[in-house]
Symmetry: none
């Protein structure tokens, strides 16, 4: 029925990632989380925002995921570049219409060969905690997370 090819993650995968990421957040008793999953082309597949999230969480979560896809590495590398190349990261944020948020919590979802199938962005608690949940979500569907740090 569908005329568009799937580009990386399916909606079923995206939904399973969100379920597992949120479960990790509840297990760790984190602040309310917003979780966004994008396909390899940066299109939103699914999003959930837990009750009590502050206002801009969807945009921040989207920006973490989109920023990772925009340059092809996880949020930790984006954060390092925001430190070492401030002018570039400012320009990148402007180019992307704000959709490039350079902090941990934007994590690439890759297959066994390292091909990027999409990205997960989470916002709500400390960036490092957001990232833990994104990693848990990606691993729950058998994919490899890339946080921007060497393994």
């Amino acid at each position: 029925m569908a005329r568009y090819p799937t580009n990386g993650l399916t909606l079923d995968q995206a939904s399973a990632i969100i379920t597992a990421a949120r479960a990790k957040g509840r297990e760790l008793n984190l602040q309310p989380l917003t979780v966004v999953v994008l396909d390899a082309g940066g299109q939103v597949k699914a999003m959930q925002r837990e009750d009590g999230s502050s206002l801009l969480r969807p945009e921040i979560a989207l920006g973490k995921a989109y920023g990772a896809l925009a340059l092809g590495f996880g949020g930790r590398e984006l954060a390092r570049r925001a430190q070492s190349m401030q002018g570039f990261m400012n320009a990148l944020s402007d180019i992307a219409g704000g959709k490039a948020v350079p902090v941990p919590g934007g994590v690439l979802a890759c297959d066994a060969n390292g091909v990027i199938l999409g990205a997960v962005g989470i916002s709500g608690d400390l960036s490092a905690q957001d990232e833990v949940c994104a990693v848990a979500g990606i691993q729950a569907v058998g994919l490899k997370p890339d946080t921007g740090d060497a393994e």
Copy 2:
């Protein structure tokens, strides 16, 4: 834990609405749908985009729901005003940054007293079919849909 009050729909309600709306779409064998649920404050609670959706569906679905909340009536009334008051609807679209799409498929979700708890926007098939699914989703959680037509 959360410091923000729930403003209308909860995430559990939003997720149940999406599940029921998509089930209706599959039952009717519609094109791939994108479903967005907003709370009473216009904040996104949840979104799902079925595999094979065309590019701008999330933005259109969001615009249908947001437009309904923006003026306080369903998409059918927005569509009528877009006919009778073109200048106003153009300005509204600009004010809203595009997030006010005046066609059927944006439906308010109300409690038994008519208090607006949120809105559902669906895009993917013909507007009238999108709307059928939004209505089904809202009814599935025991709320009253307001499509913009008198009952």
Copy 3:
């Protein structure tokens, strides 16, 4: 080497489409053309602007192609809807940041099964002539053009 999957058209296909589309334009002695090719996810693969094109041609050509992908049908159907549903098309243009130009000349490139692999947008001459060149380009690589008219 590349970590992103190809989503529909390759660069080689996009380049061959542009070459053939421009050759058709020269054969018909048209005004200078700008040709844009997008993949199925709306990402630009290649673009060429013939010498003497007026200023906004790349943006218009991009908008024709993107608009077609945004809704999943060719520019002729977009043009019809711009007539019958003005408010919707105005809102769509706003949502898309202007990247949804509802005139002939935006043509979907499909495989034998009708799966959308990308879109071609051309601007420079009359819309109908632009479209003739887009069709020629798509056919030159063995794909099926969808202009928005029934065959």
Copy 4:
């Protein structure tokens, strides 16, 4: 036929620059590159994005080239000013709508007298590698590259 004068680079020159720049990238086994060529008036002449490029590469490549033309010196000088005059570069990025990316890889293409005929922007690998390819492309058509460093 065309009513607009050519303003610096022709499309033939732009296409030759892209071909040579990409050949250098393949020779050096770089990441997939996106190459944009602008004329002296900042109008896009041609663009190609190699398969596997990450999402925002066309915008970044365009921003490198446009930023160079915007102030009249190559990306290395832009990068220096982004360090020494942060507020100015932030404002410049805003004024330009994001199209002023202050890093190496934006290179002016000049004639023998130093007259600026256009600019090349490349993104995909390390900035210094991107720049090597832009220089190779410009030299391949007999023009002088200006990277923003004194010779």
